[in-house]
């Protein structure tokens, strides 16, 4: 079809250990939640598809991780959206990339919002009670797992119709007795940070203890550092983890490090 008008936007797919209960509001289903980069509105998908091969490359191959650190009510005057603000570990490169993407879209004559990037995820739409949402909020970790062109099909449902190749920073694996994750990162420091966020997916109160460590390219040191973190967390607030196992090898594939982390619980 030469002309196919769709309501489209570019957004990151995200994952988070979502709470099980929320205050009242028109909730977006967890699978529909996303972090918008650029909202295009009703545009001709056929024309957009023609330029997608030139889509500006992301400055990272592995999705960044971060924290939902505060609740936002948007727009500030007469808010009709409850959103959670994302504090990302790649905030600076992501902000630069955002401007690059906006520039690319405007060059192709798309009308997009050119205001500063506000990384956030819409959780619910009105009607809602601001104070209830404010009181119920607590920080949780989050991770970017993909980048898609989404179509808004109505009723707060969004469908990916094009995908940019991006690796998830971690994914949970099955393990009979313990918990296990495949962790990815561009550097050993990133791997270490992503491993901490993966642990925080299972125990979000440990978020304030997460830190950046300067490590040599040595998996043993990384494991020792993670276990020191678990010890600190256990001393201060309690930990569901006994320790991270000295398991697996550091592997490299297309300049990406990966490691299978097994956590004794």
């Amino acid at each position: 079809m030469d002309s196919e008008i769709k309501k489209l936007f570019f957004a990151f797919e995200i994952m988070a250990p979502w709470p099980t209960e929320y205050p009242k509001g028109r909730l977006l289903a967890a699978e529909s939640r996303h972090l918008t980069l650029a909202f295009l509105g009703n545009v001709n998908y056929f024309e957009l598809k023609m330029i997608l091969p030139e889509f500006p490359p992301l400055p990272f191959q592995v999705g960044p991780v971060g924290v939902f650190n505060k609740v936002l009510f948007l727009p500030p005057r007469r808010p009709h959206v409850v959103a959670w603000h994302s504090e990302l570990d790649a905030a600076q490169p992501l902000n630069e990339y955002y401007h690059q993407l906006i520039h690319w879209l405007t060059d192709h004559h798309y009308r997009v919002d050119e205001r500063d990037f506000l990384p956030h995820v819409t959780i619910a739409r009105s009607p809602f009670v601001i104070n209830e949402w404010r009181k119920s909020f607590f920080p949780i970790p989050m991770a970017i797992t993909g980048l898609h062109l989404y179509e808004s099909v109505g009723n707060l449902i969004y469908t990916p119709i094009w995908t940019y190749p991006l690796l998830s920073p971690f994914q949970e694996l099955d393990h009979t007795a313990d918990i296990a994750f495949l962790i990815r990162g561009e550097t050993i420091e990133k791997l270490h940070f992503n491993a901490q966020i993966a642990l925080a997916f299972k125990h979000s109160p440990m978020l304030p203890f997460i830190h950046v460590d300067h490590l040599e390219s040595n998996l043993d040191d990384l494991i020792i550092s993670l276990n020191a973190l678990i010890s600190r967390v256990d001393c201060e607030i309690g930990s569901p983890f006994k320790a991270v196992s000295f398991h697996g090898d550091l592997q490299e594939e297309n300049h990406i490090l990966k490691w299978e982390m097994i956590v004794d619980v």
């Binding site: 694996l173 309690g238 006994k242």
Partner: protein, 475 residues
């Protein structure tokens, strides 16, 4: 599995392959052998057979599953002079174990309101779940740690937690000799200071139920266990204190390269005669003695709950037995006709001495040692009696064994109410976290009936009584 050799009912020899110093020994029946998740723990069983100084067999119990280096449900004995000690053969939760006590009240005489009150009182009295230490209690001092290391469970009895007679009903009288708190790091002490008398999280619990079936009346009579009685089953270990002891040792052993030439880094070990091996044993024994105290204080809190709700004198609540199932101990065993000192690692396995074993309290020398096998919180647990099987270094299983990961359980139970389901099968569960309940649902475990059948068929232990859970406190 085609080359497994059947040695006795439910007992298979696994032939040596390259690098194995001894063959493997698997206790399992056909039902368990058909378990699809057997490959990883069997590889671990073979890897354990590579360790220096191993004697007899590398052994796996019918509840085996994938563990840290050693399979959970693994037993291995090492010559005290030539062998090694491996933290992976003990586990992170040093002296994780179980204790069984009897409340002198028929379970049928407890009405539903009383049962509800009792489980909630236990939940109130016994801190459970992540981070739930004894916030109001006294933090352990360094001097307390020294006494715990030296005296084991006796220390808690002297502090008023329980009774002198309890000590006769604890494996090794509640103390592992050779403990030395100087071998323990400051971090471990910090982690353990307010955790004594707490259940923790994960698969740990306190459970109340009914002795539903007597299977070996003469032994049950000797232990004064009767059908219909109310029981208490407690499962916990050395909490963060033991975890840190294990972690500190692994860090040291790995940094020193003690894992070189081993098929799995997690089997890292040190010669028993080396300074590092001796230091780990001292620290491990300290953590083991901490764990005995932990279970002693949890039982005390449960006894108090029974006093408050049931008006039962705490002294009338009889401890039947307390077993370790994550431990390394020096024991004497016959090897090729001569008695030999061995360091027996039981990782998810229980000591199961038979009649006449000198190591047992005189109370149990005429019967054999009580062996406690918790199943899952919905079906059953078992009280067994050890038969002193020398092929397994007098060891038995420690539970049902996981059939499904916590992650799989969460997926399986997504959108369903686990508490309501448990109520529908007659079990009231209270927990600090619903997630723990989901991860610990009965279908996450193998059928304990099949596990104890294999143990009995292989002549490791005999079933004495079946226990039916009705009220459970989870972490």
């Amino acid at each position: 599995m085609s080359n497994f050799q059947l040695l006795a009912p439910s007992m298979y020899e696994i032939p040596k392959t390259e690098g194995m110093r001894v063959p493997g020994l698997l206790i399992a029946n056909e039902f368990l052998l058909n378990d699809l998740s057997i490959d990883e723990p069997l590889n671990q069983l073979r890897n354990v057979a590579h360790l220096p100084g191993i004697v007899g067999y590398s052994i796996a119990m019918p509840d085996m599953h994938w563990g840290y280096g050693f399979p959970i449900g693994g037993v291995a004995a090492f010559d005290a002079d030539e062998g090694v000690i491996s933290p992976g053969g003990v586990g992170y939760d040093i002296n994780c174990g179980v204790r069984l006590a009897i409340i002198p009240i028929s379970f049928k005489n407890l009405n539903s309101q009383t049962k509800h009150q009792l489980i909630n009182q236990i939940f109130h009295n016994v801190p459970s779940g992540v981070g739930h230490g004894h916030k109001k209690g006294k933090a352990l001092t360094d001097s307390d740690y020294e006494q715990i290391a030296k005296k084991g469970a006796r220390w808690s009895v002297e502090q008023g937690y329980g009774f002198e007679k309890d000590l006769q009903h604890i494996e090794s009288y509640g103390v592992i000799e050779g403990a030395n708190v100087d071998a323990v790091s400051q971090e471990a002490k910090e982690r353990g200071r307010v955790q004594l008398g707490t259940i923790g999280s994960g698969n740990h619990f306190a459970e109340i139920g009914e002795i539903s079936t007597i299977l070996l009346p003469e032994i049950a009579t000797a232990w004064e266990v009767e059908k219909g009685m109310t029981y208490i089953l407690i499962h916990s270990g050395s909490r963060g204190f033991g975890h840190q002891v294990c972690q500190d040792t692994l860090n040291t052993f790995i940094k020193k390269g003690f894992h070189k030439d081993l098929p799995d880094k997690q089997l890292v070990c040190a010669p028993l005669k080396s300074a590092e091996g001796k230091e780990y044993f001292q620290a491990m024994a300290t953590a083991a003695n901490y764990a005995f105290n932990n279970r002693q204080q949890i039982l005390h809190a449960v006894r108090e709950a029974c006093r408050e709700v049931l008006s039962v004198n705490p002294e009338e609540i009889r401890l039947i037995y307390d077993v370790c199932h994550n431990i390394a101990k020096f024991e004497m065993h016959p090897v090729k006709g001569a008695m030999r000192k061995l360091c027996v690692h039981r990782k998810g396995a229980t000591r199961a001495y038979g009649k006449g074993a000198k190591e047992l309290s005189p109370l149990f020398q005429g019967t054999g040692q009580p062996v406690l096998v918790p199943g899952d919180m919905g079906r059953a647990s078992y009280l067994m009696v050890g038969l002193g099987n020398e092929l397994t270094w007098c060891s038995s299983c420690h539970g049902a064994g996981r059939a499904r990961s916590p992650h799989q359980s969460l997926k399986e139970w997504k959108g369903r109410d686990p508490i309501k389901y448990m109520q529908s099968i007659g079990v009231e569960v209270v927990a600090a976290s619903t997630r723990t309940i989901v991860e610990e649902m009965p279908d996450a475990y193998k059928d304990v009936d099949k596990v104890v059948e294999a143990v009995q068929d292989a002549s490791l232990a005999n079933m004495v009584a079946k226990l039916r859970p009705y009220m459970v406190v989870k972490g």
